[in-house]
Symmetry: C2
Amino acid sequence: MSSAYTRLTERFQRLSRFSHLSAIAGWDMMTMMSPAGSRARGEALAELGVLQHQILTSRETGEDLARAKQASLSSDELANLAEMERAWQQAVVLPSELVEAKSVAGSRCEHAWRSQRPANDWQGFAENLKEVVSLSRQEAEIRAQNSGVSRYDALLDMYTCNQLDSIFADIKAWLPDLLQRVIARQDQQPIQRPQGPFATESQRQLGLSAMAMLGFDFNAGRLDVSAHPFCGGVPQDVRITTRYDGQNFLSALMGVIHETGHARYEQNLPSQWLGQPIAHARSTAIHESQSLFFEMQLGRSPAFLARILPEVINHFGGQDALNQQNFIRLAQRVQPGLIRVDADEVSYPAHIILRYEIERALIEAEIEVEDIPALWQEKMQQLLGIDTTGNYRNGCMQDIHWTDGAFGYFPTYTLGAMYAAQLFQALSRALPDVQQRIASGDLQPVFSWLQQNIWQHGSRFSTRELITRATGEDLNPRWFRQHLESRYLTDEFTTGRTTV
Amino acid sequence: MSSAYTRLTERFQRLSRFSHLSAIAGWDMMTMMSPAGSRARGEALAELGVLQHQILTSRETGEDLARAKQASLSSDELANLAEMERAWQQAVVLPSELVEAKSVAGSRCEHAWRSQRPANDWQGFAENLKEVVSLSRQEAEIRAQNSGVSRYDALLDMYTCNQLDSIFADIKAWLPDLLQRVIARQDQQPIQRPQGPFATESQRQLGLSAMAMLGFDFNAGRLDVSAHPFCGGVPQDVRITTRYDGQNFLSALMGVIHETGHARYEQNLPSQWLGQPIAHARSTAIHESQSLFFEMQLGRSPAFLARILPEVINHFGGQDALNQQNFIRLAQRVQPGLIRVDADEVSYPAHIILRYEIERALIEAEIEVEDIPALWQEKMQQLLGIDTTGNYRNGCMQDIHWTDGAFGYFPTYTLGAMYAAQLFQALSRALPDVQQRIASGDLQPVFSWLQQNIWQHGSRFSTRELITRATGEDLNPRWFRQHLESRYLTDEFTTGRTTV
């Protein structure tokens, strides 16, 4: 007779194998699938999802969790058990009818959105979104009752609204002014756009070179193309994607560097635990901290840009705009715009705060779906000085998150950016010559530090404990602000911060 | 309370969704997967396989099958029910320990074979193969007891050994002589090899052109690369593969045409039944008849070759060897060789008969694994006049089938070739100007005939009933012989059989 804990590890191992198949089929759907395969694929993935939900929420799982808590377990086993219980708890509190209804409404809303967005059809979209919001409120209500917090809090991963409010209030206090100063400063710096077209295959080869410089394990992953870039697959075979703009190679290059950050985290999760919940990446915020560490802290640093410039010239040939100073200016250009995913790192938090404030009020039922466009317009004006009147397509209809009912997700992007800055600051203390290392292409100490402090831990510690162990303190927005001020308001290029 | 039959359709629908995921993950394994993902993928697919086996062989399935037989069902439903029962019967007779043991032994044997084959290590390979043969004999024994036929018969899909003996005896009676006459004849015909290299991308574009000419639905499928060409995926999204030889573009071109035959069958299975067993392709022999119809009856016909030659020149540029007569000779060259998968259609049956005779004796325990090399040597000498002494690598170790314990599969290749010839003969009666149609690129009547007679029926009829309905008679090897004699011993190019 095996112990309750052993049975649980077997059950979660089995769930992990099913997740492997759904991750690969999901990646295929975004990269390879023929249009006619769409419906059958959706049904197949849903069937597997139902099965996984049944296994996870089965009576046996609940009983074994209760029994295993009585057993004598190692600290790793206890951490694994805690993650099992968290997954079970998340799944078991919701009635399956609600899960089903939310999934159906989300699919319907997302499917219609694909044509409503280009048609700027807010009225049509709003009808479906109301259903998604209504079901998401029900979900939040149930989770809130279960955990004794507010409804929106119940959808958040680790921080409460109050904490986020205070973090975002801090950012709101200095961001608009910082943004104005950066723009004024960059207006004085002439910039030259490189002349395209840049062949897709050359861009792909440049992306592969960047991945190699950043330690991507090509024995355990690959690079492909999809409409919306993502990092998918499984830790043993990580699939990252990008898309190529023939006139702007920096877009794909920086996208690939971003996804490589996600990928290296996945590729370096604790191999001895793979298949168990403790081996999972800690949280979406930590995942985003790794991609932004790679893109913002490394990829857009003058040291890295100077290092990769010869590769760029190697792939596209030389031209005036590809001198070092201009190349760095291109990669660090700040320009507030309508679209979140295209935003630079200075204006990005504004996009997040706007969405956070709206979705929070929506879930707390302080506003209704009809109120979104006016609020969007008001906050875009306030935070970025941009008018979005009547432009639903590139306004409140631009993201996929709400169509699926993924409320509570947006804040993790900015938390990730702040963690990334804080981690880089801690790394710089441990490795004072980090900029020289980057400039000379000696990135191994950087990766070792991340491996040591983040990757190898999987889900052993909570997000906040992980960050505290790595940096000596809980989340401190100060480092993010310092990073932005140093990069965008001082001449990082020629200051002592780098030797380039 | 739903009826037993309805419950069965739901259960098989569910199984079909799981098969969808394993088909896509299986395709991915052969085309996209990173090496490090191999073990996790194998485990994930095995886990799903175990689940499917459990669902199929569950007590409920057995009970519902018994109940549904009492119900009043339409003829299509009865055919569907019969296919359900066949699948259940196939699965339920074997003890799960045997299924498991065979799967493990097969994986071990195949895995080792991948390095033993290049090393020509027969001794090492034989050790693993013995285990596979022993378990396959056990399987055959159980199936034989269940169905009251001989052990090897029990592994065959539709024909008995006696029937195959008589069919193959017929072929053996005329094939060696035919082969000698064809070779003597072709020795008199000068042939010129086209000068490579032929760029992979150009070869791929040519393959896509051929697929388009042959009606492949690109909205429901794609072409990729793998070490061993195959047709996989699902009917809504068929995945065919090829491999490119820089010096010989005909190899990939004919391979693509072959797989397109498989693909069109899959793409045109009865859509109203997809997800149910009745919608499956009828059998491996019928599947192979479609690929060989496309490759041998259409693809290597002078009419089609003349039609596609301008495309070839369009992709590679012109050269002396790419004149019409020489191009046809290249595509119809007969040259006995060591390797089955590279064989021309005249020597191919010899490779099959040899394997049939050996595997039959092996399963019937008339010979042992140690006897294989000597028999191989003897039969290759007899049938093709080729000496294989000591060349295990390109002799009895060349195929993957036996490593997995897939005994009883080889005969379907030659049955497929004979069906293809017989179907083409019937088509020619219905469409007397078929060669003119092919020559002018008007292939729609050909596809309509196949759709009408084969594709749309899925598994509604047995293989033999399907063939009899389509051609007016049961398998008749005469048409295959007539096809070979007409193509290889008369001047098909200038006779009345084609207008080219």
